[in-house]
């Protein structure tokens, strides 16, 4: 893999992260991260959708009339999202109920449309696939961090395992923080992640 290709995968993790740098896909990042499991399923779903959408649009890019390109992109994305939703409903029903409308809303997730417009329409299929996977994983890493922190401090468990109870923390007066479960705290956590990232990476700081 050439250095250009590997940077397509690694950039979204650091200086081009879709959530913390491009500030895209915030809505779903707040909504589904109260627990780790739905956060991970959502992360996988978005990664699959953005990678495949990038690949398909890139394959089609020379045949798509520019004047209807947004519609064509939407049809492709919608088809993929409906597919993902159907698969979730068939194989992980309880998680699909938790995610409810947010799977459908992947269609309007700015990351997907953003990558299609900015990358897949003008790049080769293989590069586009890598770019999709990279951005999906960049989104995923933030969701997993948020889901982990919020479930641990909000519900006292990790992946449904009641770790605080097993450690006996409740017996010595520890209590779960209800605020962490609510959406505002997710926004604050995203803010903290952005703060940490910007203070360590000078290239992200405005002059």
């Amino acid at each position: 893999m050439s250095s250009k290709n590997s940077s397509l995968i690694t950039n979204p993790f650091s200086k081009n992260n879709p959530i913390t740098v491009q500030i895209l896909g915030i809505c779903s990042a707040l909504a589904v991260t109260a627990q780790l499991k739905p956060a991970v399923v959502m992360a996988i779903s978005v990664t699959v959708v953005v990678a495949l959408a990038n690949l398909i649009i890139s394959l089609m890019r020379n045949t798509i009339p520019p004047r209807i390109r947004i519609i064509v992109q939407l049809v492709v994305v919608s088809a993929l999202v409906v597919l993902v939703n159907q698969v979730l409903m068939a194989f992980v029903y309880d998680v699909s109920k938790q995610l409810s409308v947010y799977v459908g809303l992947i269609i309007t997730n700015c990351i997907v449309m953003g990558r299609l417009e900015a990358f897949a329409m003008t790049n080769k299929p293989w590069d586009s696939l890598l770019d999709g996977i990279g951005n999906g994983l960049g989104y995923a890493i933030i969701l997993v961090i948020l889901g982990f922190v919020r479930e641990l401090f909000g519900s006292g468990s990790i992946w449904g395992y009641p770790i605080c109870e097993k450690l006996g923390l409740y017996n010595i007066g520890y209590e779960n923080n209800g605020l962490v479960i609510l959406a505002p705290m997710a926004l604050i956590l995203v803010g903290i992640i952005i703060w940490i990232q910007r203070s360590s990476d000078k290239t992200l700081q405005e002059k």
Binding site: N62, V75, A79, Q86, G178
Partner: protein
């Protein structure tokens, strides 16, 4: 940038949509069976939970067959429309209680056939009545499990489509649902009075539980659903109860004693003394 003709654009979009439609239809058809099974399992889990049996989705069907003995559908005039014993569940008759779409039956009013599930647990027979009503944002659902006297609640489960997280959706918490256990849905004349969901409920009352603070509209919806849906079974309850007067006298008396505080027992005894 290439120049595309209008004709090309029309054909292109038509072909794209056709391909996508065929693909999605194919996938939806091939996954339908699995999805339906998930929905059935969830319904069985919810019915089982109302009688305090918690099972994984995989074991739902077996446990359901073990505990549920009969499925009835009844009209509001008390007449029985369908009646399937457990042996016939496997044949999946289309008009069994399990397949009833409550919303449709509610629209039909007195013509509707409303489901009742008969269960047997630890040698005790009882009934589960499913319900559907309106919360603040969408539908709310309930399964109410009653003792053989069709009066005393032994368990309830609530679920909802889209109530507010952290407020209205607390109807699904064990704390809220546990309040209903031991409450009664009939007054002393056997009329359905339901269990009221209200603020500052009288703890001693057999017909009141505390509403959810911050979830008033959802609580009101649950309250209205319980009253309306239990009311439909008035005639059915009457006919069942008149057939079992003897048993009935014994069972609830014990339970009332358990649930009441000493003070109330005194009050109750005083009342009886007055009557005499």
């Amino acid at each position: 940038m290439k120049n595309f003709s209008n004709k090309y654009m029309f054909l292109y979009s038509a072909a794209l949509v056709a391909v996508v439609a065929v693909l999605l239809a194919f996938v939806a058809m091939s996954l339908k069976e699995r999805q339906d099974k998930n929905i059935r399992n969830e319904k069985m889990q919810s019915l089982l939970k109302s009688i305090d049996i918690v099972v994984e989705a995989d074991g739902a069907e077996a446990a359901y067959m073990q505990y549920f003995k009969q499925e009835l559908t009844v009209k509001t005039d008390g007449s029985i429309v369908t009646d399937y014993p457990v042996e016939e569940f496997a044949k999946m008759p289309a008009d069994r209680a399990f397949n009833v779409k409550l919303r449709d039956e509610q629209k039909r009013g007195d013509e509707g056939a409303f489901p009742v599930y008969v269960f047997e647990k630890d040698g005790q027979t009882g009934y589960v009545i499913p319900m559907q009503g309106n919360g603040l944002w969408g539908a709310v659902y309930a399964n109410v499990a009653l003792q053989a006297d069709l009066n005393t609640i032994i368990g309830v489960t609530f679920s909802h489509d889209s109530e507010t997280p952290g407020l209205g959706d607390k109807i699904t918490t064990p704390e809220f649902q546990a309040q209903f256990v031991g409450k009664q849905i009939l007054d002393e004349n056997g009329q359905v009075v339901s269990v009221k969901v209200k603020k500052n409920a009288d703890k001693g009352s057999m017909h009141e539980v505390d509403a959810i603070s911050g979830g008033t509209m959802t609580s009101n919806g649950v309250d209205a659903m319980l009253l309306a849906d239990l009311g439909r079974y008035q005639k059915f309850i009457d006919s069942r109860r008149s057939g079992m007067q003897v048993e009935e006298a014994e069972v609830p008396a014990d339970l009332i004693a358990q649930e009441m505080t000493e003070e109330e027992i005194e009050k109750e005894e005083g009342k009886e003394a007055n009557n005499e």
